[in-house]
Symmetry: C2
Subunit: 375 residues, 2 copies
């Protein structure tokens, strides 16, 4: 049974709404996932995520493998129980982290050998082990281990990485299905990852060969790594003609609000991004400026550390819609600025709640816009 | 009208329960105040303090004077509004902070000259200015500016400091009363601070002369600075014979749970302490071991960073009594240990909520023990 159902196709763009059914909830697409790399979204708990109405979070295979480790995750019955989270969990494969590590790293057909960033211990991550880890985490949406190439790279290198990613995806599909019965979360979904840098034909053949293997959804990796927004859009336009409209599409990697809107219009259903949480810790806060999302200036990023907020009694949010708003509506920008100026951690925390709320509200407005024919 | 009313006198000790009426609530004594030095209890918001059932918090005159500054506090209508706190606020005078600062410091009859710890700017804090700052903060319970002596000191130095503290207290009383009409919080209370180190006769004369001026309550300063617990108890025994039973008594400075119990038995009504919040940030968590407070081992301090908690699925709290428990009951010691091991700020936050909950529950059990004749 296909876990994804498209509900409304925009008449203005290739944007669409849909429902993705996971063992931990039916998720309205397009959606946004906050990042809980090590089993926690920085500064906030799953109690807070509930108050934000969070449908799904993203965690990291590589980091959870090292700490708390598979023994703990196995004994606790998986990450949902460990962090007391009843929503859905997507795990990325850890490939990006492993290929980003400093130090020696050896890539073979079998997998990737590297050293733990914690104690330097030699490790070998294979597509099969990557499935076993994600099955132990109990993730709802798992990613195949992919080969990430550092850019700039030659066309040959990009093509080689994409082809190895496909061969690993085939092994991942088998391992994932074999492990189903012994998993905390047998109904989990597996996504393949389209690679190919900014080479259109490599992207095309990557997508085509993954579709031949068959996955519950398709991730688009290797973008959002410094290339211009327009180039990412070109790749999405290309892939839109190939990837099945019957499957969800996940744009991996960060995106500013206006970029998310642009990608949604090119048929993307799922997003994650470290920006709302990381920016929050620097006192950078997202705010809607106009209800009309078609205006290029529909939002702004405010630096609350700025002197101009010192005397502000403007509340942190201007209307109450989410459970967390009962808390956020109590405080002013002046108080938030004070917290940053005296280095109180509460500042980072309140800004994190504000920014996640903004991204969730952004997705809600985008879904509404698709339904109303404005996106 | 006396804002303090004693309700029950223990039959086993000089412990008592009572009610202290402030402009922001009737407070059951003995009570504990969490420390919000710079207008925030570290890692938590006033929303969280409400969930903990916090009746009163402590903030700091010196720190708020420098940041956010009197202009901001004045424009916002005081600290209650600035941090959205409807409970009571006690402010210490800032004397302890000023006398603890490194660098040049000049003490005269007028006040104390020193340099800002932020930008080195020369500042003069007088008893009158200290009242003006606390009136601008809108504190419910204000402290007179006192002279703190670094120990060890000669008897003459200790006596001199105590006498100057009394002369400053007389000036403070006048300034405080004059400022009443133009305050955000005209019904605030003023406490005098008994000094005198561990010299009994100096303590006696300090208390007597403060009582002649007349205050709504009496603070005991200059203890909890490294002297043995028994010596602090000796001073409290001495003062118990002098201080009026019709007024509340505030023990200034930190105390471990068993010390708080000991001080309550010597007639103390009010406490603050940085230990629950500071220890939390190091992963040290307070726990009750026995219901019977008379047992010397009625509590323990657990180091959650220890390996032994790695596989623990024990919930952070063992019964639900406070609003915040809905959140705390969700997480295990194993998860908390993981958060500390991967340096997630959420660990410090959850431990802070746990430790404050412990101190509030300690005070509740002490009050219950007084009522039931067991303390």
């Amino acid at each position: 049974m296909n876990p994804f159902e498209q509900t409304i196709q925009s008449t203005r763009s290739r944007a669409r709404t849909g429902v993705l059914t996971t063992p931990h909830g039916k998720l309205s697409t397009p959606f946004f996932m906050p990042i809980a790399t090590r089993g926690a979204v920085k500064t906030i708990s799953t109690f807070d995520l509930d108050r934000l109405g969070t449908p799904i979070l993203l965690s990291n295979t590589y980091h959870l493998w090292l700490r708390p480790g598979l023994d703990v995750l196995r004994a606790r019955g998986g990450l949902h129980h460990f962090m007391d989270w009843s929503g859905a969990i997507l795990t990325d494969s850890g490939g990006f982290q492993v290929f980003s590590l400093e130090g020696l790293r050896k890539l073979t057909e079998e997998g990737v050998k590297f050293q733990s960033h914690i104690d330097g211990a030699p490790l070998l991550l294979t597509p099969e082990l990557c499935m076993e880890i994600q099955r132990t985490i109990g993730s709802d949406i798992c990613m195949c281990l992919d080969v990430c190439t550092k850019l700039p790279a030659t066309r040959e290198a990009i093509q080689g990485a994409a082809e190895m990613t496909t061969r690993w995806a085939a092994r991942s599909r088998i391992a994932f299905d074999v492990l189903r019965e012994n998993s905390f979360n047998p109904g989990a979904l597996l996504f393949g990852i389209v690679q190919g840098g900014v080479e259109k034909d490599v992207r095309r053949s990557s997508a085509t060969s993954l579709m031949e293997i068959g996955f519950e959804g398709y991730s688009i990796g290797g973008l959002s790594v410094g290339e211009p927004f327009e180039q990412a859009c070109d790749m999405l336009d290309e892939l839109d003609t190939i990837l099945p409209r019957t499957s969800p599409r996940y744009f991996m990697g960060g995106a500013q609000p206006h970029e998310i809107l642009g990608y949604v219009k090119r048929g993307i259903d799922m997003f994650d991004c470290v920006l709302p949480t990381r920016n929050a810790r620097h006192g950078h806060v997202y705010q809607f400026v106009h209800d009309d999302l078609t205006r290029p200036d529909f939002y702004q990023v405010v630096h609350v550390t700025n002197e101009r907020w010192k005397q502000s009694d403007q509340p942190l949010i201007d209307e109450q819609r989410y459970v967390v708003d009962v808390e956020l509506a109590r405080y002013s920008f002046g108080y938030l600025r004070h917290l940053f100026s005296v280095q109180e951690m509460l500042g980072a925390r309140l800004a994190t709640l504000m920014n996640l709320r903004f991204y969730f509200e952004l997705m809600r407005r985008i879904r509404e816009g698709i339904e109303q024919g404005t996106v």
